[in-house]
Amino acid sequence: MGAIIVSGLVSGALYALVAAGLSLIWGSLGVFNFAHGVLLMTGAYAAWWLSSPDGLGLGLGIGIVGALAFMVVLGFVVYLLLVRPWIGKANAELAVIMTTIAGSIFLQNLILEIFGGRYKTIDQVVTGTVAIGGTTIQAQNLLVIILAPVLLIAMWLFLTRNRTGLAIRAVAQNQDAAQLFGIGVERIYIATFAVSAVLAGVAGILLGGLFNISPDMGTDPLLRAFVVVVFGGLGSLPGTILGAYAIGMIEAFSSYYIGIYWTPVVLFVVLIGVLVVRPTGLMGRPT
């Protein structure tokens, strides 16, 4: 039982980090970033390349900091090349689905070309195990369980206290009003992508410490994040976080009691059930 809850919390935490970034971009730009999973994967590769003896061998600390700095740049590039040209045009949301899918295929294959198909591993940020309440937890799992809420709270503080954070929400809610406050919408879009990419990078690095790093490691988390965002309510950050932990828990319990192959079925049945009762998701608002 303890192990199931731990597994649910770990998945929930990772999904929350991935989905929060996705939800942030949906909220302020009204587009879905299908390259989000590839951003996660690239973050993991960047950390591996900087830190591993097979790469530059600079150690894990520099690897993490460098990878996150790289994510800021990558978020900017993704926005500039794949999103910006279509903003404000007809059917922007459809165009951006296609451009970000195209971009993610390109990046995925670029990584495959550069680093090859063999799985990589990054060192765990913390090693060993911890015993809590009769359950033994890998320290890295415990780190994920604790770090994700800390980051999400930090993000919430950023969005409610910080000048740029407030501006991100303002642009999401009323673009005209935001502009009349003197907010440069373009700068805020770039900031949104940067924050979102950093969250993806953190998730990638944490995931890379738990499992292997491979060019397609972002696909599954992205799919789950979409389920989470729809489940929790589009554009609602609290809903997204609640949804992430709910999905993580359902997945953990279903994998144990029903079986791993039936788990996606269970997930989608729950998702459909929620959408039948609440078409806007758990905490979504009508559009």
Binding site: T160, R163, L166, A167, R169, A170, Q173, N174, D176, A177, A178, Q179, L180, F181, G182, I183, G184
Partner: protein, 236 residues
């Protein structure tokens, strides 16, 4: 403070709304009135940079601000409070006011300015933790004007601040607007409430079909009845 709008033409897509319109605000309070759909709001949106004019110039304090971004225009101290003001529905009053001071010029002074806004609108101080979409119509208007003031304007442009409000609230808001004018902030106000505009403004423009149809410079020369006659075709 001096705003000169010189022969501005502007519109949406191929629809031209403003036809070489010229107005001036010179350290004073200026009112715009006239039928709906004749370009008053478009004029404010053009001045504040939301719409790019196809011809003409906007000059503020001697600087040509034609075609500049809303961001840089706010930075000059020219602040536009839009109509209806759904403002920022899912933000608290406090957050919305804080954002009103987003411009680099206003940000360092935001705490002091907020005290002033709260003393002008005590109701906002009571509602500071409340989300904007839970406010009443009058309170929303107050929040919108308050957020505008947070930008430390030299000239504040208000688009129908009393729209849809009960007479008592309207009087309360008119009083607040008078108080704002008394602090030396220039005002450019659109409103349907001619009495309020007559009581507030030094100069009135009647805007019809994207042009200035009547320019009332000397307030004493105009009587309420004249305006109504001009406005509605017959004295009410």
């Amino acid at each position: 403070m001096r705003l000169q709008v010189e022969a501005i033409s502007a519109g949406y897509g191929r629809v031209r709304v403003l036809h070489e319109i010229s107005i001036a605000v010179d350290n004073q309070r200026v009112g715009l009135f006239g039928p709906n759909g004749h370009g008053k709001t478009t004029l404010l949106r053009t001045i504040s940079g939301l719409i790019r004019p196809t011809a003409g110039r906007v000059i503020f304090d001697g600087k040509d601000i034609t075609g500049r971004s809303p961001q840089s225009i706010v930075g000059e101290g020219l602040v536009h409070v839009p109509q209806g003001s759904t403002l920022l529905p899912r933000m608290t009053v406090l957050e919305a006011l804080t954002l009103g001071a987003y411009s680099r010029r206003a940000w360092p002074r935001r705490r002091a300015t907020m005290e002033q806004v709260f003393s002008l609108f005590p109701r906002l101080a009571e509602r500071r933790a409340q989300r904007c979409n839970t406010l009443s119509g009058g309170e929303r208007q107050m929040a919108a004007i308050g957020a505008g003031l947070m930008g430390c304007p030299k000239l504040l442009m208000l688009d129908e601040p009393t729209l849809g409000l009960a007479p008592k609230l309207r009087a309360e808001l008119a009083q607040a607007i008078h108080a704002i004018a008394a602090t030396g902030v220039g005002l450019l106000v659109i409103d349907q409430d001619i009495d309020m505009l007559l009581g507030l403004c030094d100069r009135l423009y009647l805007i019809e079909q994207g042009r200035v149809a009547l320019d009332v410079v000397d307030r004493s020369s105009i009587q309420h009845q004249d305006v109504l006659k001009r406005y509605f075709g017959s004295a009410a």
